[in-house]
Subunit: 338 residues, 4 copies
């Protein structure tokens, strides 16, 4: 940890901080420069953080040297983590995983027919929302537990693993009973209470990046779950908020190779929410595969025109089939299988 | 609602949409242009939204004419809403309200001594976190219910109303029992389940803008609460995420007059989180008052150096006194009282 | 064009605007709704724009229906534009084009040795800056005309086309004499005077997206050049400014398929500036190819450690060779050649 | 300067960098930690920057300790800089300066009548664009030299100093002949060639912050001008690009007190471009005054409905008068005069 002091700071004020560093068992360093005094602290910075040195009036800035996340870091855990969803798909390995389905479960028929399209294309993991977080209180909010039942039954009927979003800590248990993997949506990435609850189980979880969350924030959110004991975390890049308006969000694909290099956790991409534009989903799925993602989550609907949510970004069945066809050569080009 | 069709759309495909508009009881309009066909739909757009016209393949774009929020809009409710917190302060009226206190309740002594500083300056509303949402799992997470007890007792002892953050739907009831107003933090602005729960009571709530939330998103989040029956909503601008790094967030003060003009709800500013820099809090408090905010929430700590969270943005007691002194002439210049 | 009037606007105030629309030869529409009056104007919106209807006090908002760019739009020009750089590479066709070289021309030896690395890998287009726009006045500003001479000679010696940045309207002529294609950097994307000057010639130009420029802003900047008579415009996505800090910019790859679908101009990607991180360049080059880009611009240096600018994002020669090797199967997977 | 090495870096690789630091006359420091080796370099970091240590493969990150700007920093120049515009207004002192006028000079009559409105309110500095940078090539581009002539004559007739934008290095000389202060627009903040040219004269310059420019970028752009010999630089905050769409830009008022604390240069605010919304200009002008700005630039037009550019953000004459009336008590509250 590097501590820069304000110009004109006295030796006493510097000593006060050096002593605190020593007391915590770290090695303090005093580096008087021409315009500023700089202090160093060598040792476990996570211990030093509790000193809140940035709060001292004589301190100008504090720069950590180590990343604030630890368990999810590749440094201490060099091998890729593999997460199995329901014994059907293994995320993080040689297979490029497709998780497909409608934004929301609307009816047994809608889900079955949509799932059949995906299943025929070889997809083994079905998504569908039962609890929908919506910006407007006047929008469709999901079928709730009935939606979970439908999702579970359709998954079993077709031999597909199931994923659905959980939006509240109180629902973690019931949702876990019905599906093979939980999804934490962008708006809940920093719902820390829910992360802790999920961390206390072993259910796989797909943790989506928040719209204002940096890559480091995402890894820290994952650290919440892993530090409680649940290692089965799958990250998901789904776009961040920027000034660009032709897309709903700005899909930050650079985050994919960055995370693969700095963390051992698998990472998916959601090009449906990441772009919000039907025509961009297939090319961005290919891009995701090309830069090293472990898979994608894609919204497809048997009849997007009738969809109760996110219809404009849901693929028509034939578009989904095209996507799969165009994706295959890319997946093979990076040495994986579909 | 204005619906622009893709170039080359057939008359039949246009008619399909016009019929849907009619069926919903709205008046359809057909406007063939030189390069595009444009359709109009006149009537209650909130009804039309359920048609999800943006999902149709022949539709290029859908532009709403009416704002998606209704109950919180000034149009249908031209008078300012006043919200009383614990009978001690009235937010939205002639008084510029100061809510002050430490980021987190750390101990009875810390809170008492900090509150006394504020009380002596005329502050009638005390803030202090008992449940702290923190980016890192290794950071101080708050004292929980014990913190609520301390906050409540100190408030009563000093005759101050109390405010604290609620981070989970399950806590709404217990937190409501201890304090005079709930606070929904930026990370929970779209925790819709919690908004609905809060909406079912009458407890005043300070709803902070999310870091990636537009002004419209904030007003829609407020609409969730009001539409459930709780009119006592106070908005709070606290900065959004941008590329600028000298401040922790970018305080979007333009949102204040915009919201005052478009909504009847009162709005506060949080310059502590909005800037994250101790030295900027006093000038930004003055700016908030000057552009029409109804008050501010400010972090102050009896000993910021020892603070367990956000010490670097907590004011020293003497800085808080200066802030109050410098603020007074501004408040009076806009015709309010402190 | 759709014009929404403020609530309570009188019939006379609406008529005033309807007359203006008529006078311009467009067809006006009057659509009184339940809460708002909406006006329509059918005809060439680019003519209507000159009315500045948004300036009227009774107008709440003006929404254009047609895109503001015209010549660069794919609608009126459905076939892909191909741009030849120096007769050596054709951008926009079946070949995925690599433009490689150092950030800045530093010396004949540095450029020759770097270019040889690229040439051996099959690269036919050499980049190198002679005039460098740098954030700090204390940073290396380029060799100027001497740099142009070196670039031109090295290009000829190795049979490579050459590209360099032009930073001022006064330099357009001299730079055009030395190189095969001009580059307009992100900071100059809206240097309209320079765009017009470039538009008056026929020299191919690579127009890079500004850091705060929307896709529409980029297409409008291209429209400046094309409308002056120069059709040889190549767009380049190079990242936008966002809150993320692990990368220097956020590479917005979704812009690539969006632009391919809405414009006939070719588009390149610059993963070097787009990420600013050496290790991310190869994966993002693959992603660019996978989502439909026509090529990439990549910074490579014979000795990045000694580079006078942008060394941290310059590839080592062996990294560049790996990039080419890993890229080939992706390019072939999308049906192109390298 | 603090240099963090990658994990596993050898002692030799560390020594290589330590030697380079010594060679430059700085004092090297070796700090082996538990997980990382950290190096320090004590001395003038601006010298060290030329080493480009971030380019070394063994280097993970380089953190400067000193700010990269020097001449514009308050540290070495603690007193406020005062800049006189045409001997009529002094920016940076006790007077809160208003610079008002239309976006563009359209005709002698338009400018005269608009200027008279401002002059009657006590405004001593007149703005008006002669060269207009416009996103679309089809928009009004200004009257050019004729506009300069009109501006100059109207200014003289009314006893007002004049300000206009310069958009190209070739125009600096001619524009300087006509007006009392140059303005560098947001799109040209990093037109370094033009900054250098302006720096070689003594003409006062209002340097506007770029839409993607950090506060540090703005100060570095100012450093370009000052380092060439022109100390008469006035900064101007005018909003940055963010995801918010109810305003044209997001006015970052926190930058005002930050810059006042870190630089000795005066700073203005442009609430017209900063918000793009007529109704927000007056409250944001008050906020600017309250947080310490030295003045504002405001767009006013004798007939905004007929304005050829930016009419929607131009104040009507009576709105401008209201603004001045509401501003006065705020200016006095902060101890200044209008």
């Amino acid at each position: 940890m590097i501590i820069v002091l304000k110009p004109g700071t006295s030796k006493e004020a510097a000593d006060e901080i050096l002593e605190r560093i020593s007391e915590k068992g770290c090695r303090p360093l005093y580096m008087p420069g021409t315009e500023r005094v700089v202090l160093g602290a060598i040792g476990d910075e996570r211990v030093l953080k509790a000193l809140h040195l940035e709060s001292y009036p004589q301190v100008e800035s504090v720069t950590p040297i180590l990343s604030p996340y630890k368990l999810v870091s590749r440094e201490l855990h060099p091998h890729d983590t593999l997460v199995s969803i329901g014994g059907k798909v293994l995320v993080g390995g040689q297979r490029f995983v497709i998780i497909a389905g409608p934004c929301a479960v609307e009816s047994r028929e809608q889900l079955t027919r949509t799932a059949e399209v995906a299943r025929k294309e070889g997809v083994l993991c079905l998504r569908g929302g039962a609890f929908k977080p919506r910006s407007s209180p006047y929008a469709f909010q999901g079928l709730g537990v009935q939606g979970l039942e439908i999702l579970s039954e359709v998954g079993q009927a077709l031999g597909m693993a199931t994923v659905t979003e959980v939006v509240d800590v109180a629902d973690v248990e019931v949702v876990s009973r019905y599906v093979d993997a939980l999804q934490v949506g962008a708006r809940n990435m920093q719902n820390f209470r829910m992360l802790l609850e999920i961390g206390r189980g072993q259910k796989p979880v797909i943790l989506k990046r928040g719209m204002a969350a940096s890559v480091q924030d995402l890894l820290l959110a994952a650290e919440y779950i892993v530090s409680e004991g649940n290692p089965n975390v799958i990250l998901c890049e789904r776009g961040i908020k920027t000034f660009e308006t032709v897309t709903r969000n700005t899909l930050d694909l650079s985050a994919v190779p960055y995370i693969k290099q700095h963390s051992h956790l698998p990472i998916l991409v959601d090009p449906s929410h990441g772009t919000g534009v039907r025509e961009l989903i297939s090319p961005m799925t290919r891009a995701a595969a090309a830069c090293g993602a472990d898979g994608v989550m894609v919204e497809v609907h048997i009849d997007p025109v009738a969809a109760l949510s996110d219809g404009q970004q849901s693929l028509f069945p034939e578009q989904f089939c095209s996507l799969m066809k165009d994706l295959r050569p890319i997946v093979e080009a990076v040495g994986k299988t579909l």
